[in-house]
Symmetry: C2
């Protein structure tokens, strides 16, 4: 940072707080952008200071996805709202098979929010974006009065390019297809709830928050004809499977025994009265692919750190009712319905 | 809407309200999306129900821009948060010279917010997007508890394509260039403040909220070498000129008499103790172009409804201090500084 005549006194990132002037569009906002946002998110397009980022994408099909983040608490085992906002949107872009290119970030700050916490969040965002190779290239900051927000909300939007020949969509599941998950279910939701409720489990449960685009890239390289990909976030695996069944006009048959759930997550869910199939994940995906490609796909996924615990959990069936049914551990069968009501508010 | 076994009872758009389950990811959220968002924003990419929109843009340079909207009140003379969220982001994209292609919209709703108001906002958004020819193709909805938000916040993100040969950026102003504005200053901010404070002026002052991309398209067709374009929103004309002077490393000299301000806006500003040069606009732009192109540019702008009151207001000068100076109506000169503090909170 060079000295700037506009800002004789630097922002106090230790004891300072957001005030309404930081959303004014004027001098205070310019200082917040310069000394906090641009300091961490130091991409040349952002530094340039225009209201939009300019770039030349490779030719071909693109995707765009947006996701608001209102998670509470803001900091949790395994991440914070900053890293989550990067991972969440990268994953939504990647679930089309796309290679994510760029992110935009819109912040809504509450008056009085500590600048030190904001700096910690933006630094975490920058680390997550750098690690993923998907920079934040443009942004926006608004401030609302105390009691009209909740610390910080972050809406991230991502764009990406879809490799030629790839067509992944929620309406492509066909009877006979196989259903896979990339690892254990429920880690994120249980980590958040434990933190929120101050539950001191013996083993700390950490969020699985992670960027899945590289896992997806290896998957589509091995099996270009993947039919569906989706990350089971809010509403968990159960809701995601119901969405896919609904979009594709099919039923699904899964096996409870085949679904990976960590012992400590299962125990916490039992204690809390939660079903892990409805608990949010932030670093897992569901894949649907043709039966004759499933073994190849699961082996490929096993070769990637974020897919090491991947498993085939069931198959797509014909069903005009579009039900998701599960063979339970006891050999019975039950319908796994859409999440009704709200299991875990503000989980992402 | 066809009947859907998942939702035996339709959303009550007359008396219903947002509750936490509408952010769950489950059944209630699917219903809100189906019966409210998709009903109005009926683009095929949105209806498909994937977490991302897929499209093939024309080849070449692109821009991306994002903007959070936290305006209070939500409904005001000349618009509402829905139309504003569409216009605001279209304008940020267009200020690069780009043709806007698509929008993404992220909603953060407060528990208890009337569904009827939400429907009115989303319908307004749809009308604005349709009128502009820039559809909302993907979105997201989150819900926060009562007292943790303020009705509705909308973050819109836009992408667009930049025509070949166009290079518009805040760092391109050069000494000798001419500065233009597309119309009267301060209408939006005064309209919002009048509504907020329940000031009953004789003449209702309406926001100038409008999408400027078609005006921009005619401008760059006539004068491809426009150097800078920016919409003087938060912080008003004064702040925008200071931003451009700072980015380009130049000074600016403007003439007070040349800056269009409506008589009723000037009167309201005097009453409220505001300087119209610092009041937000949502349907105006500032342009900087080479001197020998300025007449052609202003004539072109006069030919478009949104530029009918365009005016040349000053010129770019050499100045290592990067000051914006104004020749006042009395023949004196004063420095027009960055906005300090917060003149009008939550104006957009």
């Amino acid at each position: 940072m060079t000295s700037d005549r506009r800002f004789p006194v630097r922002l106090d990132l230790e004891k300072g707080a957001v005030d309404m002037s930081h959303g004014s569009g004027g001098r205070a906002m310019a200082q917040l952008i310069g000394e906090l946002f641009q300091r961490y998110l130091d991409h040349e397009l952002l530094i340039l200071g225009n209201d939009q980022a300019l770039f030349t994408p490779p030719p071909g099909r693109m995707v765009m996805s947006t996701d608001g983040h209102v998670i509470s608490p803001l900091f949790f085992p395994g991440g914070d709202i900053g890293s989550l906002a990067v991972h969440g949107t990268i994953n939504d872009v990647a679930m089309s098979g796309a290679r994510p290119l760029y992110l935009a970030a819109g912040f809504i700050l509450e008056e009085g929010f500590p600048l030190g916490d904001l700096a910690r969040i933006v630094a975490s965002m920058a680390r997550a974006a750098n690690a993923a190779g998907v920079p934040v290239v443009t942004g926006d900051t608004k401030v609302v009065e105390r009691g009209k927000g909740d610390g910080v909300f972050i809406t991230t939007t991502g764009i990406g390019v879809v490799p030629e020949g790839i067509l992944i969509s929620g309406d492509r599941a066909e009877p006979g297809d196989v259903i896979l998950v990339s690892g254990s279910m429920g880690d994120h939701g249980v980590a958040i709830l434990s933190k929120r409720e101050n539950l001191g489990f013996e083993t700390e449960i950490r969020s699985d928050s992670a960027a899945l685009h590289e896992l997806v890239a290896t998957m589509i390289a091995a099996v270009p004809d993947i039919h569906c990909l989706r990350d089971p976030t809010r509403g968990g695996l159960a809701t995601t499977l119901n969405e896919l069944a609904h979009q594709s006009g099919v039923g699904m048959q899964i096996r409870e025994d085949a679904i990976p759930v960590r012992a400590e997550v299962a125990a916490a869910c039992e204690l809390l009265g939660l079903d892990p199939l409805y608990v949010a994940n932030e670093g897992k995906l569901v894949a649907v692919c043709p039966r004759d490609q499933a073994e190849r796909l699961v082996e490929t996924m096993h070769g990637h750190a974020l897919g090491a615990e991947s498993a085939i959990i069931g198959e797509v069936v014909e069903d005009p009712h579009r039900f998701v049914q599960m063979e339970t551990g006891f050999g019975g069968s039950r319908i796994v319905d859409w999440l009704a009501g709200e299991q875990l508010p503000r989980i992402c």
